[in-house]
Each structure stands twice: as structure tokens, then as C-alpha cells.
Amino acid sequence: MSATEKITLATAWLDGCSGCHMSFLDLDERLITLAELVDVVYSPIVDTKELPQQVDVGILEGAVSSEEDLAKARMFRERCKFLISLGDCAITGNVPSMRNMFDLDEVFDRAFVETVQAQPQRPTEGLPQLLQPVRPIHHVVPVDLVVQGCPPSADTIWYVLTELMAGRAPDPTQITRFGA
């Protein structure tokens, strides 16, 4: 199989802890099998800096918490034929969304003033604008599949990817769930 015939895969993490990507790396030796079938064209775990115009499968970890997350989610939706929400943050907002109960001023003060000893002050530049509320990805763009778990296990991710490659529609609700 030549490289051009491979399935293209892109991943990104929005407001998440990177745990879902770590779980992806936990595929261990199965990553070698995956690399023979799939071309990872954009991801925090590869060097490419730009999302190609057309990608077969996109995987998003994390909730939509900032303007940057929102732009990424929209770009992924636009360019990926099949978009997967990976993990509870992407699907429910999970831990990042627990700040929704406070207003943004309180959140900023807590993070940058109250709990900081050296030069407590709010950052003024270089940070994307935070959104209120934090939302799941499918509340801002349509998503084709959700894969629950915090994080979803490597076996779950493997099941989803192999089913998709075999041309079948995976049903991960049988093997994972919220908080798993």
C-alpha cells in the first residue's frame, strides 16, 4: 500500500489534560500496526504544524473553553470527513466545565491571584479569550461519534479505530462509559 492510499488521521486536544492522547499512546505495539494503515497528518504527537485541507478521520480531546478551542473545533469539522469526540471533556465538558458555576472574574482571580505568591496578577497578553460557559464539542459543531471515558482505555480506542478501518460503525457504549 502506498502512502497516498493510507487513511489520514488528525488529532488535537482542546481543554483537556492530554490523558486521552496518553491513552492513545498506550496502544503500545499496536501503534506500529496502526502506522501501517493510517497516516497521522496532524497531532500534538507529530511535528506537522498545520491541519491539512482534507482529512479522513479527526479526533478531538477536551472541551471547548476558549476562542482558540472553538476555532479548532470548527476547523476540524470543516476538514475532517469523520469527527470523533474522544473522552468525557469533549463529550460533557467534564472537569473543565466545572468552572461554569463561577463567573470568569472569580475564575481568573482564583487561578492567577489568590493561589499565586510571586507577582499575583492576571495575564494580559498571549492567551486566547476564555468562553463562558465551557461546552462539549457536539454543542458547537456536529460530531459523528462520541467515545466516553476519562480517559477511554487504549482497548476502547483500538476497537473504535479498527472498526472504522473495517468499514463498520463502532458502538463504544458497550465497552466504555462516563468516568470509565
Binding site: 469526540s85 468525557d88 463529550i91 460533557t92 465538558g93 467534564n94 472537569v95 466545565s97 466545572m98 461554569n100 458555576m101 463561577f102 460557559p133 462539549p136 457536539h138 454543542h139 462520541v146 466516553q148 476519562c150 463504544p172 457504549t173 462509559r177 462516563f178 468516568g179
Partner: protein, 247 residues
């Protein structure tokens, strides 16, 4: 009309009825509910507020079933069987309704499983998995509710409460203290101790912990439990009710 004393060991005079659940012919006592008959015959009907050993409440509506000839969906936990009844417990329509109920429950308060003390031992979480509720389509309310840690041993986190009222019923019917009750309406509704005083200041609470053990979620928990550590032991209840019935 003269009334004669019934011998202590005489079987109660109840008629037996036959009905059909999911195409299966079953017989039941005429005073049984659809849910208890289904349980007896190994037919699973998802339920949340119902708990064997307590009076049925019919609040969560997860156990709704279709009964032929009746246009409304009926809660299986509080609908008594009748002769010739034809019941459907798992139609596509019911699956859709159950999923929607679960979505609304998850959207109403904070049910972030990953950081909950009851993660892995939660009836709400299990129901979501069982009913295939893998994402919530409605907006989350994100409304903060109170957490009361004033009790020496226990904590109530109203953010995790689904208002099943199991705590209210077990405290009233089994412990006999009636510390718990319900206050307010709609989204303002919450369970309270005494007349909405902090749990730790409650004069009626005996600290027996039955409410904690029957709570289906991480709303009522033992203090000092970390994420996933709160396992409930609700099995005592049917035993207790049965033994007391024999007294």
C-alpha cells in the same frame, strides 16, 4: 357484618392474574406492581427512585412502560397489574424516553463522573451506560447547589442529587426519624434535614447512615472518601423490611 379473626399463618386471600410482558405470559398476584412481576420473571426494567423495601414513589419515570389500550406511559413501580394486561417494557419509544430522562438528569445538576466519589458505583452512571446515553443534547444548566459538610460522618452534595427521595423514605419508613424531607419546587427543589437546618445541627438525625447507603448517586456520602471510593451497601434494606414484617 361479623368479622372473624384470621389464623396467624393463613395465606392472604389474593387472586392470581395473568398478563403478558414483552410477549411472555406471566402470572402474578393481583396486588403486585408491573415492576415487581418483571423482576420476579427476570425481565429488566431500568429504574432509579424505586428501591425494594421502600414505598414506591414514581418520581424518576425511568421505569415507564407501555400498556396496550392506554395512551399514556405508566410507571412500572407504581402501576398494579390487572388481568389480561399487555405490557411492553423495551420498545424504541421507551428507549428514547429513558434516554431523554437521563439526559435531562445529567444536564440539570453536576454529574461529572470522573471526579465523583461514587464513580464506578453509581446507579445513575450505570443507567446511562445501560440505556446507551453517551452524550447530552440539551444545554447543561451549570447551576451551583449547596454542599453541606456539617455532619460529623456524612456529607450531602446537592449538585449530585437526583431527587429520588430514597433518603426521605428510608429515614421515615425504616429508621423512623424523618430527618429528611423535600423543599421547594422545580429546579429549586432539594432534600433538607429537619426544617432546612444544617445536617450537623439536626436534632432528629440518629446518624444511622441508612440514607447514605440507599442514595443512588454521590449526593449522600461518607466523609473522607476520594474519587471512586464511595461504595454503597443497599442490600440491608430488603432484609430489614422482611424481618420486621415477620415480627
Amino acid at each position: 357484618m361479623p368479622r372473624y379473626p384470621t389464623p396467624a399463618n393463613a395465606p392472604p386471600k389474593v387472586r392470581v392474574v395473568t398478563l403478558r410482558i414483552n410477549g411472555q405470559d406471566v402470572s402474578a398476584r393481583e396486588d403486585e406492581t408491573i415492576l415487581s412481576v418483571a423482576v420476579d420473571h427476570g425481565i429488566r426494567i431500568p429504574s432509579l427512585c424505586y428501591l425494594e423495601g421502600l414505598t414506591a414513589w414514581g418520581a424518576c419515570r425511568l421505569c415507564v412502560v407501555e400498556v396496550a389500550g392506554i395512551p399514556k406511559l405508566l410507571p412500572a413501580c407504581s402501576t398494579v397489574v390487572t388481568e389480561g394486561m399487555v405490557v411492553e417494557t423495551n420498545s424504541d419509544k421507551l428507549k428514547r424516553y429513558r434516554r431523554m430522562i437521563l439526559e435531562l438528569l445529567f444536564a440539570e445538576r453536576n454529574h461529572v463522573c470522573s471526579v465523583c466519589v461514587s464513580n464506578g458505583h453509581c446507579e445513575l452512571q450505570n443507567l446511562a451506560a445501560e440505556c446507551g446515553m453517551d452524550h447530552v443534547r440539551v444545554p447543561y444548566r451549570n447551576a451551583p447547589y449547596e454542599v453541606d459538610s456539617s455532619h460529623d460522618f456524612f456529607r450531602v452534595d446537592h449538585n449530585r442529587c437526583v431527587l429520588c427521595t430514597r433518603c426521605v423514605r428510608v429515614c421515615d419508613e425504616i429508621e423512623g426519624a424523618h430527618t429528611w424531607d423535600v423543599m421547594g419546587r422545580g429546579v429549586e427543589c432539594q432534600v433538607i434535614t429537619d426544617l432546612h437546618t444544617p445536617w450537623g445541627e439536626s436534632e432528629s438525625c440518629t446518624s444511622c447512615g441508612k440514607c447514605v447507603q440507599v442514595c443512588p448517586t454521590g449526593a449522600l456520602v461518607k466523609k473522607g472518601t476520594a474519587a471512586g471510593e464511595m461504595e454503597k451497601l443497599g442490600d440491608f434494606l430488603p432484609y430489614l423490611t422482611q424481618m420486621r414484617g415477620k415480627q
